[in-house]
């Protein structure tokens, strides 16, 4: 370690200025981030633990929780498989049009959630392109679970790929080439060489993908139809309860989602620490 650790270097503000800037930043964060978070839990427990538990144990809330878990359990693995396949193709091979492919993968991030729902309505809705054909065959996608899954997969499309591509790009392809030259087949190479290298990055991407899949509101709201007990996810249930002026109920379900967000943040931070250790050991 040859880094200079003098207390006051020429390029440092006075202690007073530092304290002032830190205070200002913390005040901003307290006001805009902490306060809303505290409000969720406080409003949920406003009338005590009893009404809170009643709201969470309500059958409609329960079916919303179940649907949200089902949606995440289907859409996250789909995007995980896509993320792995896309990053393998993009990082292990060179081919023309790679930048275009990267841009197209990122596309769902720049589309409004409402528009993300709208496009599936245009495709599969009653007046949509495939609507008449689908209803003739008794298949329901819009205002049903398949539509919610499609919209969720669209919204969370880039998450895993985006996390893996820079990581695998940095790791290069020497390890895989060594494995193949030693006689491993493609699947063995992926399973024993690539996957152990990228597992934390993969987990990180899956974590973010899952948080968004469980919390998505706009896109799901457009395709769901808000049928209680059938196509109502947790965020949609929050909206319904809120619009019915059942504030304790709305904030009770919302507090579960906020708890999920906090767990996500904790796991994410832990993974980032691991990443730092990992990359520190590599360099």
């Amino acid at each position: 370690m040859t880094r200079k650790t003098r207390k006051v270097t020429p390029g440092t503000e006075s202690r007073t200025a530092q304290v002032l800037l830190i205070t200002l930043a913390l005040a901003f964060l307290a006001f805009f981030l902490m306060l809303p978070l505290i409000a969720v839990f406080s409003e949920a427990l406003k009338q005590g633990i009893g009404p809170f538990l009643d709201a969470v144990a309500n059958p409609d809330a329960f079916s919303a929780i179940r649907l949200t878990l089902i949606i995440a359990a289907i859409s996250v693995p789909l995007n995980m498989v896509f993320g792995l396949a896309a990053s393998w193709a993009i990082t292990k091979f060179s081919f023309p049009g790679k930048n275009l492919l990267l841009t197209l993968i990122d596309l769902p991030f720049s589309v409004s959630p409402v528009v993300s729902g709208l496009i599936f309505v245009l495709l599969f809705g009653a007046q949509g392109l495939l609507g008449p054909w689908l209803s003739a065959h008794g298949v329901k996608i819009i205002f049903a679970v398949p539509g919610i899954i499609l919209a969720t997969v669209f919204i969370t499309f880039p998450f895993v790929a985006r996390e893996l591509i820079p990581l695998m790009m940095e790791q290069g392809k020497e390890d895989e080439e060594a494995a193949v030259s030693l006689g491993a087949n493609g699947w063995q190479t992926f399973w024993h060489v690539t996957l152990p290298n990228i597992r934390w990055g993969l987990l990180y991407g899956v974590l973010l993908c899952n948080a968004r899949a469980m919390g998505e509101f706009g896109a799901v709201s457009v395709v769901s139809g808000h049928i209680r007990g059938e196509t109502n996810t947790m965020p949609l249930h929050v909206e319904i309860l809120y619009n019915e002026y059942d504030f304790v109920g709305a904030f009770a379900v919302a507090s579960l989602l906020a708890a999920l967000a906090l767990v996500t943040l904790v796991l994410k931070t832990v993974l980032e620490w691991r990443f730092d250790l990992h990359s520190g050991a590599r360099h």
Binding site: L29, F32, L33, L122, L265
Partner: protein, 283 residues
Amino acid sequence: MPSMTTRKTTWRAPSVLPGFGLTFGFSLAWLSLIVLIPLSMLFIKSAGMGWQAFVDVGFSERALTAYRLSFGTALAAAFVNAVFGLLVAWVLVRYAFPGKRVISALVDLPFALPTAVAGIALTALYAPSGWVGQYLDPLGIKVAFTPIGITVALVFIGLPFVVRSVEPVLADLGKDVEEAAATLGAGRAQTFARVIFPAILPALFTGFALAFARGVGEYGSVIFISGNMPGKTEIAPLLIVTQLEQYNYDGATAIAMVMMLVSFAVLFTLNAVQSIRRRRLGA
């Protein structure tokens, strides 16, 4: 291991590793199925409705008011975030203070917290009877159910984009340049304005553009706090939902199309700025 690494520059043979056809084919097929074909519905539907019908809804008085509101509040929120996001990034990178890791993790809360939860929490805070609203109301400041409330929600949503864009650039910035500036007699403010700020400006602009693009399309966190009065606090994504609820698919498509073209323009500008930055750094 690094000692065993061989130069790969002459070895760019894509055939060494297997699985290109499978992973590339699958990625392209899945991308088309989930993203490209559904998104192309917007263009197909727009082309099918004729120019006059498109303009009638897409540029109606009500739609223009909604765009003005959406783009205006997103721009205002992005500016607030550019200032305070830079401050937060600066404090996190440069200064040591207790609880820094927790604060750093908390910055990502808007990414993890479902938008509907943020929406009802902010409304509870800023309603005239809320924790914050009760102090603003006597002063004649109304936040909830006004464009200010929409801006507050978009500040919440957009903050991490600026912080996370600026942070790595600020961390990589060598102290030696600043020290050189100080040695040459520059004051702290002068050093910031002439040396540091120009270096982080592209990253700041990236964060600004990302926050802006996200704010324009944002739905979940806004609709609760906005009050949704047509012509006053009706944002463009909400207008799309309203059109859909009236089964006016053409109207919804026209508005979505206008919004998306603007978003793409922002994305295009963003990429142009980034490539300029890369060229500057790569030189």
